[in-house]
Amino acid sequence: MPTRIKIEDGGYMAPSEDPFTYVADDQDLVQGDLILSLTRFQAEGDRLLSEGRAVGVRLRSDEEVEVLAYDLPRIAVVALEFPKFRDGRPYSNARILRERYGYKGEVRAVGDVLREQAGFMLRCGFDAFEPADGSGAQQWQAATQRFRHVYQRAADGREPAFVERER
C-alpha cells in the first residue's frame, strides 16, 4: 500500500495511516471507508454512505470535478489521479474544488506523484499525497518550502508578491 503524506494542523507534513481503501472497479468491496471510481461511486455510493461509511471518489485526469458538484458535501476524499506527472489537468481540478466549490474534505494526489511537483500541488489545494518516488514526509515538506514568495493567488491562501508589496 502506498504511503500517504498528509498535511497536519499548522502545515506540518507527516506520514499518516490511511483509513481509506481504494477499490478498483474489478475488485470486490471490502469493509470500512472506501475510495471508488466515479462510475462505481455513482452506482453504489448512496448505499455505502447509508451504511455509515466514509466514501471518497478517485477521478481520472480526463474527468472533471464539475460532475461531483452536488455530491461534494458527502464525499470525504477526492483523489485526483496523475497518469503521468506531465498531465497537468489535476491541478485545475484541485483549484476548482477548493476555490470554486469551497470543498473542505481531503484532496489527494495519486498516481505519478513526484516530489518535484510537491510545491505546485500544495498551492493548488492538495493536502494529501501518495508519492510514487519513495520520498518521505520530510523530503516532501522540504520540496514545498523552496520558495519564499509566490506570484499568484491560488488555493493555498499564500499572499502573492503584489499583495506583499502593498504592506
Binding site: 497537468g88 485545475s92 518535484e116 505546485f120 519564499r148 506570484y151 493567488r153 508578491a161 503584489f162 502593498e166
Partner: protein
C-alpha cells in the same frame, strides 16, 4: 527598465538553489537522466547533439548594460565565447557542461536573470514590441503588461504542465513588430471609443507543422482584467487541449477544432465563473511596474547638425542611417538596429567581445538599454541624433554595423542540424550562402525589403511560414532538401506562405533566390516590395523562373 525588488531577487535565488540541489542529485547518481530530464527542462537546459544547451530568458527582449556584460562573461567563461540570440529573443549557449549549470544560474540571478520556463510545457518567456517605449505609434508601453505577465506566469502552480509549450506576445502599436498573429496568445492594445485602453485578444496562432494565424476571440478586453482573462484561456486549454498526440497538443489545434467562436464562448464562461480580482493586479502594483518604464529623455532639438554633417561626409554612414536607424518618439533621439547578420556569419550569433561593445554603447548612449528582437538582431532604443556618428563608428569597428535591416541578407535562421537534435537539415550554411551572394550593399538596397526565414525542420523555429521567402529544410532519403514558400508575413498584414514547387537540393537554393529576385525586379511596379509584387502576380512567374531548367 524594471528592476527586481527584494521579492523578485529572493525568487531567482531560491530557484538557483533548488537547481543546484537537483543537479547535485543527478551528478551523485541518485537520479537517472530520465528522471532528471523534466527537472532540467524546467530550467531551460537541453541535451543537444554535442553538449548541453542553456536557453536564458530575456523577458520582453529588454537588457541593461550590466545584464549584457554578464551574458558576455558567462559565454566567455562557461562556453566558447559566443551566444546565439533566438527568434524568441532568448540567448542560447550551446556548449555547456552540466556541472557548471548551477553556477551559471547563480551568476544570472545576480543580474536579475534566469532560465526558468524557456523550455517545457509551460508559459514561456513573454515577448513584446522591441520598439516599446521608443516608438511614437504605441498607446502604452507594452512592457508594463509583459512584466505583469512575466510575474503571473512564473512557476504558475496550475499551468506548469500544460499539454504543450505556450507563448504570449504583446504589442501596443498598430505596426506589429511582435508577430502577435502567430502566437498562442497575441495581445494587441486598442483604445475604445470611451478612451479606455484594452487588448484585442488573439488565440491559437502558431507555426510548426500546422501553421495558423490566431483568430481574435475578443475585440476588446479592458486592460485591468488581463491576468484573470489569461487565466481563463489557459485553464480551458489546460483542461481540454489534446494530450494524446504531441503534434496536436498546441492550443491552435484546440481553437481550430472547436472553432474560434466556441472556444471564445468557453473562455468567457470560465472567466465569468471566477473572481477576476483574485488574479488581476491592483492599480498600485501596475503603477509600480509602470514607473520602472519611464526613461528620462532630454529636451533636444529635432534636427542634429552634427548628424547632417556626418551624413553628407560619409556615404557608408548615410546608408546605415537609411536602413538601421528609425524614428523615435522623443525629438532628437533615434532607434538604432544592431545587425547580427553580417554576410558569412551565423544569423543571431554574437561574440562576448561584441556583447561588451554593445553593452558599453548602451550605457553611454542609450539610457542603459538594449533590446533583442525576433529577427535575431539587437537594438539600441534611445540614441541621441548627435551621438549616431560615434555609435556607428563603434559598431562598425566591432563588425556590427552591416546596413541590411529588413533587406535580403537580414535572414532569420534557426540553429538547424549544426546544433539541434530535432533538425532534418542545416539552416545556418544556407543563410550564409544566400547572404554572401547578396553581400553587395548597393544591390541589396536596390532590391529593398525582403525577409527570408529559414527553418531546419517542421518545428519552424526559423518562422519560415511567415517569410516573404520561407525556406524549410527536409530530409529526403538522407539528403538535405529545401522547400520554398512565398508571400508569408508575420506582421499586421500577416499571411502564411504559399508553396513554390518541389523541394530544391541544397546547392540550388541560393540560385533560386536569385532567380526569384530577378523576377521581382522585372515585375515590380513603383513602390512595391517583393511581398507586394508577389501578392499581385501570384506564384506563377516565380515558379516558372525557378523550375525553368526542369522543363
Amino acid at each position: 527598465m524594471y528592476r527586481y525588488d527584494t521579492i523578485d531577487k529572493a525568487f531567482v535565488a531560491d530557484r538557483a538553489a533548488e537547481f543546484r540541489e537537483q543537479v547535485g542529485r543527478r551528478l551523485a547518481g541518485e537520479i537517472t537522466e530520465d528522471q532528471f530530464k523534466p527537472i532540467r527542462l524546467l530550467n531551460g537546459l537541453y541535451l543537444q547533439l554535442h553538449a548541453y544547451m542553456l536557453r536564458i530568458a530575456i523577458p520582453y527582449g529588454t537588457l541593461t548594460s550590466k545584464k549584457l556584460r554578464k551574458l558576455a562573461w558567462i559565454a566567455k567563461t562557461y562556453d566558447q565565447g559566443y551566444g546565439h540570440f533566438t527568434t524568441r529573443t532568448n540567448l542560447q549557449l550551446h556548449w555547456i557542461k552540466l556541472a557548471d549549470a548551477p553556477d551559471i544560474l547563480q551568476h544570472l540571478a545576480e543580474v536579475e536573470m534566469h532560465s526558468m520556463q524557456t523550455s517545457g510545457n509551460t508559459i514561456r518567456n513573454v515577448t513584446a514590441d522591441p520598439y516599446a517605449g521608443a516608438t511614437a505609434d504605441e498607446l502604452d508601453d507594452p512592457r508594463v503588461w509583459a512584466e505583469a505577465i512575466r510575474q503571473w506566469s512564473t512557476l504558475h502552480p496550475e499551468f506548469s504542465f500544460l499539454p504543450r509549450k505556450f507563448k504570449i506576445a504583446v504589442t501596443a502599436a498598430a505596426k506589429d513588430r511582435a508577430a502577435t498573429r502567430v502566437y498562442d496568445i497575441g495581445l494587441a492594445m486598442r483604445r475604445a471609443r470611451t478612451g479606455e485602453l484594452g487588448f484585442e485578444v488573439m488565440v491559437g496562432g502558431g507555426l510548426g507543422r500546422t501553421p495558423y494565424l490566431g483568430p481574435t476571440i475578443r475585440q476588446f478586453l479592458p486592460s485591468r482584467h488581463l491576468l484573470s482573462y489569461l487565466e481563463a484561456i489557459v485553464r480551458v486549454y489546460n483542461r481540454h487541449g489534446r494530450r494524446d498526440n504531441i503534434w496536436k497538443a498546441r492550443i491552435k489545434v484546440l481553437v481550430a477544432s472547436l472553432g474560434a467562436e466556441e472556444f471564445a464562448r468557453q473562455v468567457e464562461a470560465e472567466w465569468a465563473k471566477g473572481e477576476p480580482e483574485r488574479a488581476d493586479l491592483p492599480d498600485t502594483e501596475l503603477a509600480r511596474i509602470r514607473a520602472a518604464f519611464t526613461p528620462a529623455f532630454e529636451v533636444l532639438p529635432a534636427r542634429s547638425e552634427a548628424l547632417e554633417r556626418a551624413k553628407a561626409a560619409d556615404p557608408a554612414f548615410a546608408r546605415f542611417l537609411r536602413h538601421n536607424v528609425h524614428p523615435h518618439k522623443a525629438p532628437g533621439y533615434a532607434i538604432v538596429d544592431v545587425s547580427l547578420k553580417t554576410p558569412g556569419e551565423t544569423p543571431g550569433d554574437m561574440s562576448s567581445a561584441q556583447m561588451e561593445v554593445v553593452a558599453d554603447l548602451a550605457e553611454r548612449y542609450s539610457l542603459d538599454e538594449v533590446r533583442v528582437n525576433y529577427q535575431q538582431n539587437l537594438l539600441l532604443p534611445h540614441v541621441r541624433l548627435d551621438d549616431l556618428p560615434a555609435v556607428h563608428a563603434a559598431l562598425a569597428a566591432a563588425g556590427l554595423a552591416t546596413p541590411n535591416i529588413d533587406l535580403v541578407s537580414d535572414i532569420i535562421a534557426c540553429p538547424g542540424l549544426d546544433y539541434c537534435a530535432l533538425a532534418n537539415a542545416r539552416a545556418i550554411p544556407v543563410a550564409q550562402h544566400i547572404a554572401k551572394r547578396f553581400a553587395d550593399p548597393e544591390r541589396a538596397e536596390l532590391i529593398g525589403e525582403l525577409k527570408i526565414k529559414i527553418s531546419g525542420c517542421i518545428n519552424a523555429c526559423g518562422h519560415h511560414h511567415v517569410g516573404h521567402i520561407g525556406i524549410l529544410g527536409v530530409d529526403k532519403k538522407g539528403e538535405e532538401f529545401y522547400q520554398v514558400t512565398l508571400g508569408g508575413s508575420g506582421e499586421e498584414d500577416a499571411a502564411l506562405g504559399q508553396m513554390l514547387g518541389p523541394a530544391l537540393p541544397a546547392d540550388k537554393v541560393t540560385d533560386a533566390i536569385e532567380q526569384m529576385v530577378e523576377v521581382y525586379l522585372r515585375e515590380r511596379k513603383s513602390g512595391e516590395r517583393f511581398l507586394d509584387t508577389f501578392r499581385r502576380t501570384g506564384v506563377a512567374p516565380f515558379k516558372e523562373a525557378v523550375y525553368a531548367d526542369a522543363h
